[in-house]
């Protein structure tokens, strides 16, 4: 059974790894952009008749707001029509990123339930009290007034340098209206990461509506409405619960509105999903950063990694420190293992005897070895738990590298971006080499020559597999290998010195 069985195993393992490798290639390296959306300037055909935007003819920019990190434009209908990030980090193909897509609704857009009023709202130009705002360190306020005859709408917006804005809506007469945080940014859209809408309720529960899955619905006692893509968000937030309305567009992507008939006080934010920035506006907003499946774990891992980053000042170093931290936590276990290594040497003659006796039956050999280990309280094997513990950490780092804007463009030595693959393949090769060395140092006992061959080939297979993974992930694994080598080397040295001691005694 031995050879054939193992041959089958290695074929299956290789096939699985390659399938994974190609799937990754397809989904991540060829992200699907939704640029075709951009030409869509038709009026929105909402399934919900309540909220309808009418095509406005001549929309001009009425106010320009310039801050250190962004440039914002308000159009003649009193909406945010453009939000451009000015930092070098947000530069793609020589152009600064625009977070407001052509699709409707735009942030600050107000629609009315009353159809006539709604028509008017999309035909009447607004008045503003400032045409240009230069934001330095202090927030500044802009008043946007729209006179619709029977009702006068006033939006008093205070802009902050970090992308936050406080919004006060005043109506001269009670009317049912809807205000939107805007269509989700369409900058980082791909098939591997989630994008769409997020609603947080006052009891802390989250409702995440992914693009393509939206159904018309009203969610009561909501406190956050946010549209988000992989890295960016546009949101409205209030400590006082409100009614959130989800309206699917023609692609069944969710668009969000807050429904009200009275004056409202809201806080908004447009920009990258920086955990620190969101936290500084309100701790509740941290939930806007989603990491897909395993968000809870990934978020806590982020806090640890972020703490290490703030100590070290570099994300690559932070990842290395994380490996060391995990090792330290597991150290009591490792230490126990090292002690039992000592005893193991004394068992060598007995081991040999067993190995001779059960040469042809690996099952029985394994069984008798375990029995021997237990009798003498010496077991050289690390166990399944430490191995399995590494899996969630590894998965968590993968998620962070996928979703965290903080880690995007993180430089480390020759690597320009830890969230992308290593362009020179230095790290994957280094990982393969360290894996090989670790194997060489670890005492193994194979019953089967075929299994031994497979084992020796593993570093090559892993190098190929890891070549297209984010460099940060390969960095984690490589560092882990190096520490394993160090640990094994120390164990081997200790064993040698003990051996020498025993010889001297004789």
């Amino acid at each position: 059974m031995g050879n054939n069985d193992n041959l089958r195993r290695i074929i299956v393992a290789t096939v699985i790894s390659f399938v994974f490798f190609f799937a990754y290639d397809y989904f991540v390296l060829a992200p699907q952009t939704t640029n075709k959306e951009l030409n869509n300037s038709k009026p929105v055909a909402n399934t919900s008749k309540k909220i309808e935007a009418k095509k406005s003819i001549d929309v001009k920019t009425v106010t320009k707001i310039e801050a250190k990190n962004y440039e914002m434009k308000i159009d003649s209908l009193g909406r945010i029509s453009s939000f451009i990030l000015k930092q070098n980090k947000f530069n793609e193909n020589g152009k600064h990123l625009e977070l407001i897509p052509q699709k409707l609704p735009k942030p600050l857009e107000i629609r009315f339930k009353n159809e006539n009023l709604n028509k008017k709202a999309f035909l009447t130009d607004v008045r503003v009290d400032k045409n240009y705002i230069k934001l330095d360190n202090k927030p500044q306020t802009l008043t946007i007034t729209q006179d619709l005859g029977e009702v006068i709408v006033k939006k008093i917006v205070t802009f902050y340098p970090n992308g936050r804005y406080d919004l006060k809506i005043e109506l001269s007469k009670s009317e049912i209206y809807f205000i939107s945080p805007g269509y989700r940014p369409a900058v980082a859209i791909d098939q591997l990461t989630i994008h769409g809408a997020l609603i947080k309720k006052s009891d802390g529960t989250l409702e995440i509506i992914e693009d393509g899955d939206a159904e018309p619905e009203t969610i009561k006692s909501a406190i956050i409405t946010a549209g988000f893509d992989r890295y960016y968000t546009t949101l409205l937030f209030s400590k006082k619960p409100f009614n959130a309305v989800v309206v699917p567009d023609n692609e069944k992507n969710p668009t969000l509105f807050i429904k009200s008939d009275e004056n409202l006080n809201l806080t908004g934010y447009i920009g990258p999903k920086y955990v620190d920035t969101l936290k500084s506006i309100d701790p509740e907003l941290v939930d806007v950063v989603q990491y897909g499946i395993g968000t809870f774990f990934a978020r806590n891992l982020f806090f640890v990694l972020d703490w290490l980053y703030k100590i070290s000042g570099n994300w690559g170093v932070a990842i290395i420190l994380l490996v060391i931290l995990v090792r330290l936590v597991l150290f009591p276990l490792t230490f126990k293992g090292m002690v039992s290594m000592y005893k193991l040497k004394e068992l060598a003659p007995k081991m040999k005897e067993i190995q001779e006796r059960y040469k042809k039956d690996p099952q029985k050999l394994q069984m008798h070895m375990m029995k021997l280990y237990k009798e003498h309280g010496a077991n050289p094997l690390g166990g399944c738990l430490p191995l399995l513990l590494q899996i969630p950490i590894f998965y968590g780092i993968y998620k962070l590298l996928l979703y965290s804007i903080e880690l995007k463009g993180a430089e480390f030595l020759w690597i320009k971006d830890l969230s992308e693959m290593d362009p020179y393949f230095i790290l994957p090769v280094l990982m393969g080499i360290t894996m090989y060395i670790h194997q060489k140092l670890t005492p193994t006992n194979f019953q089967d020559p075929m299994q031994e061959k497979i084992f020796k080939f593993l570093p090559v297979i892993f190098t190929i597999m890891m070549a297209t993974f984010p460099a940060g992930l390969v960095l984690y694994w490589t560092t882990n290998n190096i520490l394993s080598i160090l640990q094994q080397w120390i164990i081997n040295k200790l064993m040698e010195s003990k051996k020498a001691l025993m010889k001297a005694k004789k």
């Binding site: 193992n6 195993r9 290695i10 299956v12 393992a13 699985i16 009591p332 276990l333 490792t334 126990k336 293992g337 039992s340 394994q366 069984m367 070895m369 375990m370 029995k371 280990y373 237990k374 009798e375 309280g377 077991n379 094997l381 690390g382 166990g383 399944c384 738990l385 430490p386 191995l387 399995l388 194997q439 670890t442 193994t444 299994q451 497979i454 084992f455 593993l458």
Partner: protein, 105 residues
């Protein structure tokens, strides 16, 4: 039933690729084999908890060694039927059995 089958499928798949990690388990049978035997002979939730405890035990703070799954079962004798033996159930006390996979089961 479906949960059980899913678990068994998953473990079987894992056992195919587990040589990648090298031999690490401190027990005989290994954690994955233990899990397979458990899921095939016990109800899903009991098996799940036992497997979880076994994996938690599988570290340097515990001695390791031989540790077969033990299950509770009421056995009704069947006479005169030729059946293939998949598992040997070795009785310890009333209704309690050690589970050992039959050689060619």
């Amino acid at each position: 039933m479906t949960l059980k089958k899913l678990a068994i499928k998953f473990i079987t798949l894992y056992k195919y690729i587990s040589p990648v990690f090298g031999s690490k388990c401190r027990y005989y049978p290994t954690c994955s084999t233990y899990a397979l035997w458990e899921f095939e002979n016990d109800n899903f939730f009991k098996a799940f908890i036992k497997v979880l405890l076994r994996i938690l035990r599988c570290n340097q703070l515990f001695k390791g060694g031989i540790d077969y799954p033990v299950i509770k079962k009421n056995i009704n004798a069947v006479y005169g039927v030729k059946k293939r033996v998949n598992y040997w159930l070795v009785p310890i006390t009333d209704n309690k059995f050690i589970v050992i996979k039959a050689e060619n089961g």
